[in-house]
């Protein structure tokens, strides 16, 4: 296992390295040469006002969009480094970066447990024929899948509702289920898109703890987009700030709090609201 560092990025010890990422939609430049690094054991936050291009950035990194320019490099703890621009998102996930969605995208008519089991898809190999014959290997995989999934549900506190349909869960629980589902893919980096959106303070606090716990006990690094400043400031090791597609600041929570550009960006937004 790699050494867990809580300090600033060290160039030779990076998991995700995004260089000058640019994404155009028609004439609109949604992301403009943004660079960002995530190191092992870090919780990195990407913040910025609405429409700053954070989710687009996420989508480029996870293969939903093919970036116009720039490079997305991954250096998995095990396995070789590679440039993943334009990889389909299932490949990105298989490499080891799993995400959640801003507007929760669960498999609503499947049970909570099954939602998590889908996460195991890329780590298992049963084919149609295998599923029909249900040989010993298939049975073993299936058993493991169920076990791992139950474990994950336990970690996010959803084991009691494992057989409920996902659509019947309360909002906060749906968010946690998405995290569990993403964790089931055995990622080294978890990308969370506004995990606290719509949560009450209590739920946010629990989420806060959950994220830190994932980092500390599961050894999964985290990149998150968030609006909730309190959460971001509490748990992030480093913060990147975007506005109008550009990166305007980066640094520790303390640095960011005092950065005039950031204050302006947020005050500008606040006076709008």
């Amino acid at each position: 296992m790699l050494e867990v560092s809580k300090t600033m990025a060290e160039p030779d010890n990076i998991l995700l390295e995004v260089k000058d990422l640019t994404m155009d939609f028609g004439g609109l430049r949604a992301v403009d040469s943004v660079s960002l690094n995530v190191c092992p054991g870090e919780i990195v936050a990407l913040i910025g006002p609405n429409g700053a291009g954070k989710t687009t950035f996420f989508n480029c990194v996870t293969g939903m969009y093919k970036p116009t320019n720039g490079a997305v490099m991954v250096h998995p703890p095990e396995g070789k480094s590679q440039k993943i621009n334009g990889f389909k998102s299932n490949r990105v996930t298989t490499i080891g970066m799993a995400r959640t969605f801003q507007n929760i995208r669960l498999f609503k008519n499947m049970t909570v447990l099954e939602n998590v089991m889908i996460g195991r898809h890329c780590r298992t190999t049963t084919s149609i024929i295998g599923a029909i014959l249900r040989g010993s290997k298939t049975r073993r995989q299936e058993r493991e899948t169920v076990e791992i999934s139950y474990d994950l549900l336990e970690k996010v506190g959803l084991v009691d509702v494992a057989d409920e349909f996902a659509k019947n869960l309360p909002y906060g629980a749906q968010r946690r289920l998405e995290i569990a589902r993403a964790m089931a893919t055995d990622p080294f980096l978890l990308l969370l898109d506004e995990p606290a959106a719509g949560m009450n303070p209590q739920e946010t606090k629990a989420l806060d703890e959950l994220i830190v716990r994932i980092r500390d006990t599961e050894k999964i690094s985290i990149l998150l987009i968030e609006h909730d400043m309190k959460l971001v400031m509490n748990i992030s090791d480093r913060i990147y700030v975007m506005e109008y597609g550009k990166e305007i600041a980066q640094g520790s929570p303390m640095d960011i709090r005092n950065d005039p550009k950031v204050i302006k960006a947020y005050l500008g937004e606040d006076s709008d609201a």
Binding site: F107, N109, L113, T126, G130, V146, A162, R181
Partner: protein
């Protein structure tokens, strides 16, 4: 109540107006006179009045039910009969035994007609189970499913008439050809979603029929392929009745086989991926599922069953022509899947039996049978929009049996 009657009277009046030109007036171009069939107007008035009252009553009941459901006192209190049937072994077991017995002796006690239509119904059960995978599990709306059915039937027909292939060799070949076509046709349309997919598959269905119709050298066009042998049994000579009975048992085996396999797949890595794809394609891919492979496998798997069913279909009719492979058949199979309750195996079986046997039992109504068939389809959808039996998800009893008190 008075209000009800008043409204129903209005409805009756409306329908009298609506049906007036078509039901009452008939132009006799020969003698150049107009026939006024006033008596029809009376029937329409009475009929729609009565139906309206029944309708109102049924709708009220339906609303009451859904209101109750909203208040949360539904299934958990009293699971529907369908669900109890599936879950309570006390009911489940005897029902299954009785069903198995009935199934076994059925062709021995009924006449050839009953056995014959039952074979057709069972063919549609297999078709329904196949399409259930594509539409019900994987959520890929396919309005041209009949194309794969045709592929199977013509595989047998062509192989038999050109090379003398027998039924038992052609059966797996038909299935494989179906699957192959599933992949070939599925490939260009991977990116399409929902209703776009629907119309393209509808197009494929029509194209298949047109090609069969026009490519006379191979498919014999509209003349069709005649004298296709019924399933053989070590070369034994069989009367048609015996052969039908024999085909019936083959079909029963095949249905059991299909249930067994789709059941296994449903609760497997592959089946879950199909369902996830149906629920949310983007999230599914983001969770590491290969969209192309998963979609193609769903197509191929669904088409495989259609191919198998096609071979049996050809052998049952001993004659095939393009008339059996129209949009109506695709619509019929789709209706079976939706009415059965998407993804539900038992529902599909019941719906297939109902939809195929109903027109036969409606023969007594002669030319009214398709009219009633259409009406029943509409009514079934209105009163059971989720299908006959809603899909019940499997509960994985993992190592922890915490699940018992989970629902409390």
């Amino acid at each position: 109540m008075v209000d009800n009657i008043k409204r129903s009277l209005l409805v009756a009046l409306w329908f009298v107006f609506l049906t007036f030109p078509l039901m009452v007036v008939k132009v006799n171009t020969l003698k150049n006179i107009v026939e006024w069939r006033w008596i029809n107007m009376l029937w329409v008035a009475i009929g729609s009045f009565v139906l309206s009252i029944v309708w109102r009553w049924a709708m009220e009941r339906r609303q009451l039910k859904s209101k109750k459901a909203e208040q949360g006192e539904e299934e958990s209190v009293k699971p529907g009969f369908g669900q109890r049937l599936l879950e309570d072994p006390k009911i489940f077991k005897p029902v299954l035994i009785v069903l198995a017995l009935v199934t076994l002796v059925f062709p021995l006690v009924v006449d050839i007609y009953q056995a014959n239509i039952m074979v057709l119904a069972l063919i549609f059960v297999v078709l329904g189970l196949g399409l259930n995978v594509t539409v019900g599990l994987a959520g890929l709306l396919d309005l041209g499913y009949v194309a794969f059915f045709a592929v199977g039937a013509y595989t047998y027909g062509v192989l038999n008439s050109f090379f003398g292939f027998g039924f038992w060799i052609s059966l797996p070949l038909g299935g494989l050809m179906g699957a192959l076509f599933g992949i070939v046709l599925g490939f260009p349309i991977l990116r399409l979603r929902g209703d776009y997919l629907a119309i393209v598959t509808l197009g494929f269905g029509s194209i298949a029929k047109i090609v069969i119709e026009n490519w006379e050298e191979v498919f014999n066009g509209a003349k069709g392929i005649a004298n296709i042998p019924r399933p053989g049994f070590f070369g034994a000579e069989m009367s048609i009745h015996t052969a039908t009975t024999y085909t019936y048992y083959i079909m029963i085996l095949m249905v059991l086989f299909a249930i067994f396999i789709t059941n296994r797949l449903k609760d497997s890595r592959v089946g879950r991926a199909w369902m996830a794809l149906r629920e949310d394609e983007i999230a599914c891919v983001a969770m590491g599922v290969d969209m192309a492979r998963t979609k193609l496998s769903a197509y191929a798997f669904g088409a495989f069953w259609a191919g198998l069913a096609g071979v049996i279909f050809a052998s049952r009719n001993t004659y095939i022509n393009p008339n059996s492979f129209t949009f109506m058949e695709s619509a019929l199979v789709l209706s079976i899947v939706v009415m059965g309750g998407m993804g539900s195996i038992i529902g599909v079986i019941i719906a297939a039996l109902v939809l195929i046997l109903m027109p036969e039992y409606l023969r007594a109504f002669s030319e009214y049978r398709m009219l009633m068939f259409g009406a029943v389809m509409v009514l079934m959808m209105i009163f059971r929009p989720e299908g006959l039996i809603a899909n019940v998800r499997r509960k994985y009893a993992g190592r922890k049996v915490v699940t018992e008190d989970a629902n409390a």
